[in-house]
């Protein structure tokens, strides 16, 4: 556990899962359910950018803009055209929301496979500079950017939830949706905002993480599960909890294969999920117990 390179790698993976978990948390606050389509959103951002650059020969930044716009559109469509009508008809039945989200997960995955192709593609490097030397390890530019963006995003979201009007509205809805609605607060608008911001965070995560291991149309499912687990491990108590959870899950993903073989992380992750779900579903940092 003294290899600096491994720690850097764990931090990179951890920040990625932390960002995904933060996106989960935002949508959980605003809409009261877990949007399992976040992993595929992140995949679309990463894969879409690369596909636009390689296949459509767009230059880098327009490709990034288009891919992020697609993700925002997907997030808005998820809420406006699918989740909201279904919840309105079923009176907020949880199973219906879960089924709808699973269908969206699968549809986005298959759609990406159909449009972008079913190959694994490399991620696009957004910045180019020499790797930073830390001891005898190197921090790659893509990793440095991911770490920096993670810090900025978390600080920005924390400030927004504390100080911003819509952010505070979101917290109010997260605390008590019915009361917020009775008070006449614009619940639906805040929900849409939560979906879009969650989608943006997921898009940033996917875009910045893609250079590490590449991205294929099936990456989204794994990312969905790891992001969810990061949120469950961290808890929903503070904005920072997802980051802690993400770093823990990321550490497992990096260190376990190093010591126990390449198939082990899947088993360890399953074990962690079972233990946390059974004994501490509120996570490490909790404000209250969600059941």
């Amino acid at each position: 556990m003294t290899d600096v390179q491994l720690w850097l790698s764990a931090a990179e993976v951890g920040c990625f899962f932390g960002l995904l978990a933060l996106a989960y948390l935002l949508i959980l606050e605003g809409a009261g359910f877990f949007n399992f389509a976040l992993g595929p959103y992140a995949m679309v951002a990463g894969l879409g950018t690369t596909w636009l650059v390689i296949e459509k020969e767009l230059s880098l930044w327009p490709a990034v803009a288009v891919a992020v716009l697609i993700v925002v559109a997907l997030a808005a469509v998820t809420e406006l055209l699918v989740v909201r009508p279904i919840e309105a008809r079923t009176g907020g039945n949880e199973l219906s929301a879960l089924v709808a989200v699973a269908a969206i997960l699968f549809a986005v995955e298959q759609g990406a496979g159909y449009v972008f192709g079913r190959r694994q593609l490399p991620g696009q490097l957004l910045v180019r500079f020499d790797p930073i030397e830390i001891g005898d390890a190197f921090l790659q530019p893509s990793a440095a950017l991911l770490l920096a963006v993670t810090v900025v995003v978390f600080v920005a979201v924390a400030a927004w939830l504390r100080l911003g009007g819509t952010g505070r509205l979101l917290r109010a809805i997260g605390d008590n949706k019915e009361a917020a609605a009775v008070l006449g607060l614009p619940v639906s608008r805040a929900r849409l905002t939560a979906f879009v911001i969650g989608g943006l965070v997921a898009a940033a995560a996917g875009l910045l993480y893609a250079p590490k291991a590449g991205v294929g149309f099936e990456s989204g499912l794994t990312w969905t599960l790891n992001g969810f687990l990061a949120l469950v491990v961290g808890g929903t108590g503070t904005v920072w909890a997802p980051l802690i959870g993400g770093l823990l899950v990321g550490g497992v993903q990096v260190f376990v294969p190093y010591y126990l073989g390449s198939a082990a992380p899947n088993y360890v992750i399953l074990g962690i999920a079972l233990v946390f779900f059974a004994f501490r579903p509120e996570g490490l940092f909790s404000r209250r117990i969600r059941t």
């Binding site: 877990f34 399992f36 949880e94 089924v99 269908a103 549809a107 059941t291």
Partner: protein
């Protein structure tokens, strides 16, 4: 219990006054309602068997449809009846297929041993996964079962000594029943009979007191808990039954194709298994069978969709969820009722016995 449940079921049905599909499910046991679905399904199945004939490709399609139908029927019990969505169905089917493969490779026992063991193993696993999340929201069960499904896929490749790794197990012995080895056509007929039997049994189970109880639990768990039934236990039983049935699908596939690899049942199957009951209609287990036929047709037998079959399917399911939540059979049923009711009453919203239920409602009505 028997005296109470129709009452409870009726209350649950009545609580959805907003939905056109509301109606008490207490019309069971009339006999008239029991046989037409089975008879109709038998006729359709016989026609399909005639269409298949001795064409090898069509036989493969037929067995795949039967496999999908069993997985979808397995999904039906916890998902549609009890309202918990378990996403480890690829693993349950995989357990079935590998059980048959391992029995054939390592022992001299008949393959039926695998058929008997796999449902038990799958049901036990489903119960363990359900136990860990029994007091949590359905999203946790979904996540832990999906994690299990992906870990199981990795394990199939990784555990070389047990599963023969990525090569999989081939050369599975032919099925034999007391020395008689059925050929492929006969096996397909047996598979069809199995699907019909399971669907019929589930249809009966759904309308039994236990079925009414489970469906009531899905809508108003507090009421069921108050009658002294442990809701989490009931849920676990439903999860176990479903996993066992899905596992039979895997056994069937491996016995017919006489081989299995880690790619035979991937996580994609899980999503297809959610879609099948929704496409066919959640009001009756027969919907799951219809859904399986539609899925096989769209993904494999329809040239225009060879690349995009699964995409078309998932978009189609979103549309079904939004505009036709009772699926194909529910739609046909409504159409039939409307025609039978004559021009005036046909315009009124009607409750249709085949598809009205607490189980059908939270995704319709």
């Amino acid at each position: 219990m028997t005296a109470v449940t129709p009452e409870v079921g009726g209350t649950a049905g009545g609580s959805s006054a907003g939905g056109p599909a509301a109606g008490p499910p207490g019309t069971r046991g009339t006999g008239v309602r029991v046989w037409p679905p089975l008879g109709l399904a038998a006729v359709v199945a016989a026609l399909l068997l005639v269409w298949v004939g001795s064409n090898g490709y069509r036989q493969d399609l037929g067995v795949l449809a039967a496999t999908y139908a069993l997985i979808a029927l397995g999904m039906y019990v916890p998902f549609v009846m009890a309202g918990s969505l378990s996403l480890a169905y690829s693993a349950y089917a995989g357990i079935g297929a590998y059980a048959v493969g391992i029995v054939s490779r390592d022992t001299g026992w008949p393959l039926w041993v695998g058929w008997l063991a796999a449902p038990l193993v799958s049901a036990a696993l489903a119960v363990v996964l359900g136990l860990a999340t029994r007091r949590l929201s359905g999203f946790y069960l979904g996540a832990v079962t999906l994690l299990f499904a992906t870990a199981f896929e990795t394990w199939l490749v990784d555990a070389d000594g047990i599963t023969d790794g990525s090569r999989g197990i081939g050369g599975i012995r032919n099925l034999s029943v007391f020395g008689w080895s059925p050929d492929r056509s006969q096996q397909l007929i047996m598979a069809t009979v199995l699907v019909l039997a399971v669907a019929f049994a589930l249809d009966r189970l759904r309308q039994s007191p236990w079925g009414v109880l489970v469906r009531t639990m899905r809508e108003v768990p507090a009421v069921v808990e108050a009658t002294g039934v442990r809701v989490p236990v009931l849920n676990l039983v439903a999860l176990g039954i479903g996993a066992g049935i899905a596992s039979l699908g895997g056994c069937l596939f491996a016995s017919f194709v006489r081989g299995v690899t880690p790619e035979t049942f991937t996580v994609n199957i899980v999503f297809l298994a959610i879609f099948m009951p929704l496409i066919g209609g959640v009001g009756t287990p027969w919907g799951a069978v219809v859904g399986a036929l539609v899925v096989v047709e769209l993904t494999l037998n329809f040239p225009a969709f060879s690349d995009s079959g699964t995409l078309v399917l998932s978009l189609g399911v979103l549309v079904i969820l939004l505009v036709a939540p009772r699926g194909l059979l529910g739609y046909l049923d409504a159409l039939r009722n409307r025609l039978a009711a004559g021009p005036l009453t046909g315009l009124l919203p009607r409750s249709s016995p085949g598809s009205s239920s607490p189980a059908g409602r939270s995704s319709d009505g």
